[in-house]
Amino acid sequence: MSINQGTNANLIEEIGPEGIQSQEMLLNMGPQHPSTHGVLRLVLKLEGETVVDCTPVIGYLHRGIEKILENRPVMGGIRYMDNADYLSPLLNEIAYAGAVEQLMGIEAPRRAQYIRLLTGEMQRIASHLVAVGTYLVDLGAFTPVLWTFRDREGILSLFEALGGSRFNVNYLRVGGVLHDFPRGWLKACETYFDQFEKNMVELEGLITGNEIFESRTQGVGYIDPPQAIAYGLTGPMLRASGVNWDLRVNRPYMAYREVPVNVQVRQEGDCYARYKVRVQEIWESIRLCRVAMDKMPGGSIGTRTPIALRPPRGETYFAIESSKGELGVYFISDGSEYPWRAKLRGPSFVNLQILPELLRGHKMSDVVAIIGSLDIVLGEVDR
C-alpha cells in the first residue's frame, strides 16, 4: 500500500454507510531494525497503531551450525556451538560437551563440574545483563545498557584470562575443561563480584522503581501458565508466568546435584515479571558463583579421553538450563569421529513462537517492549 498516491477522491469513496473506515497498514519491521534484536523480520498488520496480526519471518542469520557440527570431529564442534547463542557461548558448550559425555558414559571430575558451574553462572549473568540493558534501550532509556555492558565487560575479561578469548571462549572439553584457572583468577572473580553487587544495586535503583518503566511493562504481554506450558516456553519466560520449572533443580546435572538453586518465579506473567525474573536470577547466579568458589574442590580438571574421540553408536538427549531456557542437544553417533546428527533445541527458537499471540491487540510501542522481554538471540533461532 502506498501512502502518498491516494487522492482526495479515493479517500472519500471509502466512506461507507458505517462511517469512515480506516485501512489496515502492512508494516515491514526488520530485518534491519534497531530493536528486533538481530535480524528478526516482523510483518505487522496495523490498524492505526494497534497490531492486528504479526508474522515473524526468521532465517536471516542461518549459518547451518547443525550441519557444520556433522562435518567436524566431536571436539572441534565445541567451538561452533559458541556461535549458536552468541550471548551465552559457554552454556552452549556445556550442553554439547554434556551430551557427548552422556553418550560416552563418562563424567567430568568434580573440579571440572564446579568450574563449569562457576563459568556457566557467570555466562548467565552476562547474558541476562545484555537482556536487561537492551530491553531498556527498547523502552527508550539509554543509560542502563551502558552500565550493564560495563559489568559484562568484567565477566568477559575474566573469560579472556581463562580461555584466551573474550567472546567465543572455547573452554569446554569433552570430559572436562581446557585449562585450570590462571593464578589469582578466583580472587579476581571475588573482587569483580564485590563491585558488581554494588553496580546491580545502582542499576536496580535506576530501573525497578521507575513509574514509566512500570507503566510500560506491567500488564503488557501477559502469558498465563497453561498457555506458557502449551507453547513450550522455558527459562525466565516460563518462570515469569508462575511455573516453577528449572532444569537445574528439576533435572539436576553436573554440579547442580550438589549445589541447590533457588528458582526465581514471578506470578504476574507480564513483561515486568520477565524483567524481574532476570534480575533476580542475576542475584541468584552471583550467590551460586560464590558458593562454587567456596566449595571449589581440588583434583584434576578432565578425564582422559582419546584424541580422536569416537562416541559409541547411539543417541542421547541432554538438556541444560541455559540463560534463555532449556538448551538441549540431541546427539546421534554412528560410532565414527563425526557426529551423525547434532540437533539443538534452542530456547530462543521455541520462545519466539508465542510472539504473534502476544502482539495481537497491543500498540506499536508495545511491540518492541514485548520482543525485548522475550530475550531472543537470532543466532540461536536461525542457527
Binding site: 502506498s2 501512502i3 530493536s35 513509574e211 500488564g219 497453561p226 538441549g328
Partner: protein, 461 residues
C-alpha cells in the same frame, strides 16, 4: 504601475534611509548575535549532551577531535554539510524539501522576544504580547514535522509525524495554561506596593514579567555590599517559589514540545527507526537537529524569564544604576552571563532527564496530558483566582499582595508534593485500566496441562 510611480521615490528613499540608519545597524548586530547565539548554543548543547551523558553513563564521550573532544560537533557539522542530500524517489518533493525550514524558522523567530540582558535584544523584546508571540511560534513547528512525516512517503515517518502532531498539540494546552497562571500573578500584583504597572493590569511582555520578580526588600538595605548584591536580584520574589507546580508542568510540557526524552515518541529510535527523520540525511537532517536544540534553549529561556528571574543576578542593576557606559557594559555582560547560565542549568536538567528515564507510550502520553496536566493547570488557575478574590476582599491594605503570594505559594507547594506523590500511581492505574481489554482479549487457558514429565537418559540422571 501607478503605485510604483507615485510611491517609488518615497519607498526608495525610505528604504535607503533605513538601511543606512543606526537602527538598522543595531538591528543587524542584534540579529547576527542572536542567530549566532542560537547556532552556538545548539552546538554547545550537542557537545554538552554527549559529554554529560557520557559522564552519567560511565564512559568518556567524544575525546579525540580537538582538545578533550571539544571540536566534535564542529567536525560533525562539517561532515553533515558535505554529505550527499538523498531524496527518496517517490517522496513529495516540495514538502520534503521545505519541512526543515518550516521547522527551524519559527524556533529562531521565537527568540525575537527574548532579551539577553537589559539592553541586548532584538527589537522584538518591546512587543507587549511576548508570551502570545512565543506560544504562536512554538506551535508552528508541528507543521514542519507533519510535512516531514508525510513528505517522506515512509510508513515510519508517517507514524512519527502523526504521533508528533497529536503530542505537540496536546501538550500545547497545559503549556499555555501554565503560563496563564504567571500572567494572573502579574495582574494580581500590578500596581500594588513595590510592583510596577497599573492596578489590575498585568502584562504578557516577557521583560516586564521579569520586573515583577524583583522587589524592593532585601536584608541590610543600605549597606553597600548588600545593595550591590540584592538590588534587582531577589530570589525570594521569583515566581518559582509562588508557583513551583507550574514550573514543573511547564517544563514537562517543554520536554514534550521539544520531543525530548521521555516524550521522544515521534523519533523513537527503537520503535520507528528515526520517526519523521528516517528519510532525512545531511544538511536537512542537521537543520532538524539544530531546531530541536534551539527549541530546548528557548523553552529553558522562557522558563528562566517566567519563573527564575531572567537575567537578574548580583550586581546587574547596581552597575547599571551607576550611569557610566563602562559600568553599564559590565552590568550587561554580567546579565548575559547570568541569563545564559540559568538557561544552561535548565538544559542540563533536560540532558539529565534524557539519560535517566525510559520513553512513554503514545496513549500514556495522551492520558498524561489530558487526564492529569490539563485538569491540574485549570484547577490551579481557578484556585489562584479564588485566593486572589478572597484575600482582596479581606481588606488587608498594603499587606494584600504579600499575603496573596504566601497563600498561593503554600497551596501550590502542597499541590506539587501531592502531584509528585500521586502522579506515578495515577499513571500506573490509568494505564492498567487502559490495558485491561488487551489482557482480557488474550485467549483463555487452552487446557491446564501438567508439567511435562520427561523420560529417557536426561531425565533419569
Amino acid at each position: 504601475m501607478y503605485f510604483s510611480i507615485v510611491l517609488g521615490d518615497d519607498i526608495w528613499s525610505q528604504l535607503g534611509g533605513y538601511i543606512f540608519s543606526w537602527q538598522f545597524l543595531q538591528f543587524l548586530v542584534a540579529f547576527v548575535s542572536f542567530f549566532g547565539f542560537v547556532m552556538t548554543s545548539a552546538l554547545l548543547l550537542i557537545l554538552a549532551e554527549r559529554k554529560v551523558m557520557g559522564w552519567m553513563q560511565d564512559r568518556l564521550g567524544p575525546i579525540h577531535t580537538g582538545p578533550q573532544g571539544l571540536l566534535q560537533t564542529v567536525a560533525d557539522a562539517v561532515k553533515l554539510l558535505l554529505k550527499e542530500d538523498v531524496h527518496a524517489a517517490k517522496s513529495d518533493k516540495a514538502l520534503f524539501i521545505f519541512a526543515p525550514s518550516v521547522f527551524l524558522a519559527p524556533i529562531i523567530a521565537a527568540f525575537a522576544v527574548i532579551p539577553l540582558s537589559p539592553y541586548v535584544g532584538l527589537p522584538g523584546i518591546t512587543i507587549a504580547t511576548g508570551i502570545v508571540y512565543y506560544v504562536a511560534m512554538s506551535s508552528i513547528d508541528v507543521i514542519g514535522v507533519i510535512m516531514a512525516g508525510w513528505g517522506s512517503n515512509n510508513k515510519y515517518s508517517l507514524m512519527g509525524g502523526l504521533r508528533s502532531a497529536a503530542q505537540m498539540i496536546s501538550y500545547e494546552l497545559p503549556l499555555v495554561l501554565a503560563l496563564v497562571v504567571v500572567v494572573m500573578l502579574t495582574s494580581a500584583l500590578a500596581g500594588t506596593a513595590g510592583y510596577p504597572g497599573n492596578a489590575g493590569i498585568g502584562t504578557i511582555a516577557i521583560s516586564q514579567i521579569q520586573e515583577f520578580q524583583s522587589v524592593n526588600i532585601w536584608p541590610f538595605k543600605g549597606v553597600p555590599f548588600f545593595d550591590f548584591v540584592f538590588e534587582g536580584f531577589t530570589p525570594w520574589a521569583w515566581f518559582v517559589l509562588v508557583q513551583p507546580l507550574m514550573l514543573v508542568i511547564y517544563y514537562t510540557c517543554g520536554l514534550a514540545e521539544t520531543n525530548r526524552a521521555p516524550f521522544d515518541l515521534p523519533e523513537a529510535e527503537s520503535e520507528l527507526v528515526a520517526g519523521y527523520l528516517t528519510e532525512y540525511s545531511g544538511l536537512r537532517w542537521a537543520i532538524f537537529f539544530l531546531g530541536e536544540y534551539g527549541n530546548m534553549t528557548i523553552v529553558a529561556a522562557i522558563t528562566t524569564y517566567l519563573f527564575l528571574g531572567g537575567w537578574s543576578g548580583p550586581g546587574v542593576v547596581y552597575l547599571l544604576g551607576l550611569g557610566s557606559p563602562g559600568w553599564g557594559l559590565l552590568g550587561n555582560l554580567l546579565a548575559v552571563a547570568y541569563f545564559i547560565s540559568k538557561v544552561y542549568l535548565l538544559c542540563f536538567v533536560f540532558i539529565w532527564i534524557r539519560s535517566t528515564l525510559p520513553r512513554l507510550r503514545a496513549d500514556q502520553l495522551m492520558q498524561f496530558a489530558w487526564l492529569i496536566l490539563i485538569p491540574l493547570t485549570l484547577f490551579n488557575i481557578l484556585l489562584t483566582g479564588i485566593i486572589f478574590l478572597v484575600i482582596n476582599s479581606l481588606g488587608l491594605g498594603s499587606w494584600t499582595s504579600f499575603v496573596f503570594l504566601v497563600v498561593t505559594a503554600i497551596f501550590n507547594w502542597a499541590m506539587l508534593f501531592v502531584f509528585i506523590r500521586i502522579v506515578g500511581r495515577t499513571t500506573l492505574s490509568t494505564t492498567r485500566r487502559a490495558q485491561a481489554p488487551a489482557i482480557r482479549a488474550q485467549p483463555k487457558a487452552i487446557t491446564a496441562l501438567p508439567a511435562p514429565e520427561r523420560t529417557g537418559i536426561a531425565g533419569g540422571q
